[in-house]
Symmetry: C2
Subunit: 174 residues, 2 copies
Amino acid sequence: MVGSCPPVAIIALTRGKPMLQFGMMLKTLGVPMTDQNESYILDDQVGFLLRLAYQRHIALFMEQMTGGLTPPQFSTLYRLREAVEPISQNALGRLVGMDAATTKGVVARLLSRDLIRVEKDGGDRRRYTLFITDAGRQLLDAVMADVKGISEATLEPLAPQERAQFLALLKRLI
Amino acid sequence: MVGSCPPVAIIALTRGKPMLQFGMMLKTLGVPMTDQNESYILDDQVGFLLRLAYQRHIALFMEQMTGGLTPPQFSTLYRLREAVEPISQNALGRLVGMDAATTKGVVARLLSRDLIRVEKDGGDRRRYTLFITDAGRQLLDAVMADVKGISEATLEPLAPQERAQFLALLKRLI
DNA sequence: GAAATATTGTTTGTATGCAAATGATTTTGC
DNA sequence: GCAAAATCATTTGCATACAAACAATATTTC
């Protein structure tokens, strides 16, 4: 099942803004007012919408991903295969937009499934260099169709031209 | 400090796609190929971008929010004040796009700060009806300027017209 | 070359977020 | 009216995610 809390239909449900009438009244009466309760509609705020959109994407991802990978796990594995030169754990995490603490957990789970492996760096004794395994490559190959479908499904409500437009704008917000 | 992992500058860093050349070679040679490794650029995928954009928003939120509220906590408190009729914990959570388990924690933290209070529902003995307290209303009033600035800051890279465009598209992805 | 600084990886604590299971209660279907 | 289904709230387990602190090692600065 997708989820127990469909945000879409419910969001527009309780849009009543009881404070607004009060605000108008104050304004009409010439009473000093902060004006801060007006013109703030939660359903129109970027952060609120980004959270819901990302949640929907994750739901689609977990539905359609057959390889048992989460979005960060897939991104990490994919980035590791892309890497031309040996890469450390922290550096890989940064390429995926994760901090060191988060990366630690993601890498541990990929390691436990033997999708990646570690080697001690000879030059820098702090570093563990990461490598993707054959099993990791095979899993990636196997799920590429899934992840393409997931991107498709996430953008499905938009027309092709709108998708490109949306992605272009979204990139600039990062 | 904003965060220890600036995704922006780093993302475009390791774009090398070693597999592509191999794919091209196979194609040229007429070897059957799955074509699944081609044309997938992680930095162009909605889910990847949504995650990073939401992370950036959260960083801005925690920087500029003076009231010690997280995004879900603010949304929950704001929605509770909006509510015209008495509302149960689960119902409030759904209005904010949170499942019951998540809502439990958020509500607990708002309760511990006395920003909301509970009453046992007389009619339905399973329900706890939630109410915002005076302290909760005061805090909301106090942070409205913050959250408006946060929305502004999140959309700052876009021109005014682009912001409206982006929000319209984003809404359709929920 | 020694001191200051930075980086790598780890750990702990806190906060979402979902799945799945549970018990209590209410509503629905017949 | 009664069994089945749904709902409310809770709990447990797992997976991001960030802040802050830490030890070990490298690099920079002078």
